[in-house]
């Protein structure tokens, strides 16, 4: 097909194309079902919109519980229970409902109390840490003052390499005539050195104090974090207890029951096996013992061996009988003779 033919075939004015696009030949889609669904959705939306969208979840829940109660109150006024029993039952149910509400109030109070304690703990922690920080800050300022003074004294310290004044003094002392002593400078130098030593020891003490306070802060921090972790763990435990107060007891009872059942079963099995064995032994004579033995080992043992084993069994039985007779004889005397 060349292009012209294709174009001819796709001419929208041709009848076949008109059929597709015209409504006359098109089947109408049944929109009834769709319209019904739409109406239902609109209704639901209206109901939703009736409620104030700004209401909190709590308010919606409160309305629901209070609405139910108000509804119940109306129905009871309109149609109270006719019998005394009916009234009593209703009152009993209302008491249960009251207990539910009381339980909820207690939980709310406990929650509020816990929250209060948590805030108090956080507050105390913050105050403590702030006090420590203030002390560190004061000590740091004092430290700075000491360092400043030390830097100043360095200029006059004859032993310090930074002391220009001291260098000058040395130079002057060299050029001084013999015998001349600059006592004033020496006194001053001694004072400078003393003062420096005093400041340096004070600085050391301050540094130790700062370190101490920093350690205190760190341990306060750790203690606070541990307390918070404990509180969280307690909360979880309490929540589990509130939700299922007897769960641990029930689990414990369940396991104890199962252990007891197992012990009883074990004892029964043992008794049963013991009884069976003793019955077997009681009813067994020498020949049946041999037979039992032979049955279990028939395929593996030669005839010679079989004879040997049966003789062994015979000897053992005879020895046992002899021993029993001996015991019986000794028992007559009142005591047992031990070989």
């Amino acid at each position: 097909m060349d292009n012209e033919e294709v174009l001819e075939g796709s001419n929208p004015t041709q009848p076949e194309f008109e059929d597709i696009w015209s409504n006359e030949n098109h089947e109408e889609i049944d929109l009834t079902e769709y319209k019904e669904i739409e109406l239902e959705e609109d209704k639901e939306t209206e109901l939703e919109e009736d409620k104030d969208p700004k209401m909190t979840f709590s308010e919606k829940r409160a309305m629901s519980a209070q609405d139910k109660l108000k509804n119940l109150r109306e129905k009871v006024s309109e149609n109270p229970p006719k019998t005394t029993l009916g009234r009593k039952l209703a009152v009993a149910r209302l008491n249960r409902l009251q207990n539910m509400v009381d339980k909820r109030i207690l939980k709310n109070n406990a929650k509020a109390q816990a929250k209060k304690e948590e805030y108090a703990m956080a507050d105390a922690y913050n105050k403590t840490q702030q006090n420590v920080i203030n002390k560190i800050s004061d000590l740091s300022l004092e430290r700075e003052d000491i360092l400043r003074e030390l830097r100043g004294l360095d200029r006059f310290d004859p032993n310090s390499s930074k002391s220009m004044f001291a260098k000058q003094q040395k130079k002057m002392a060299k050029s001084m005539p013999k015998g001349y002593k600059a006592t004033r400078n020496e006194n001053n130098n001694a004072k400078v050195i003393d003062r420096k030593r005093s400041l340096e020891s004070k600085l050391k003490i301050i540094d130790q104090e700062i370190e101490g306070y920093e350690n205190t802060m760190a341990s306060n921090d750790k203690a606070y974090k541990n307390n918070r972790a404990e509180i969280k763990a307690d909360k979880k435990k309490n929540l589990a207890v509130i939700k299922s107060p007897n769960i641990f007891k029930r689990i414990k009872n369940f396991f104890n029951k199962k252990v007891e059942q197992f012990r009883t079963w074990k004892k029964e099995q043992r008794d049963k096996a013991g009884k069976e064995l003793s019955d077997k032994v009681a009813n067994t004579e020498e020949s049946s013992m041999r037979e039992m033995f032979l049955e279990s080992n028939a395929s593996n043992i030669s005839l010679e061996d079989q004879a040997k084993y049966s003789q062994m069994i015979q000897e053992k039985l005879e020895a046992r009988e002899a021993n029993n007779e001996k015991i019986q004889e000794n028992d007559k005397d009142g005591y047992e003779q031990v070989d």
Binding site: A65, L94, M100, I105
Partner: protein, 45 residues
């Protein structure tokens, strides 16, 4: 897990469970208690 607590008033087709009162503040709960008291008074009349 403990059994969910429910209270049913079958004759009036109304039922409550403990979760109805979750997330309510104490003021709202006190109001609920008041309504319950009212109903009890009506029954005792």
């Amino acid at each position: 897990m403990s059994k969910k607590e429910e209270v049913k008033f079958e004759e009036y087709d109304i039922e409550f469970n403990e979760h109805d009162f979750d997330n309510l503040q104490n003021e709202e709960l006190k109001e609920c208690k008041k309504i319950i008291e009212d109903i009890k008074k009506k029954l005792e009349e």
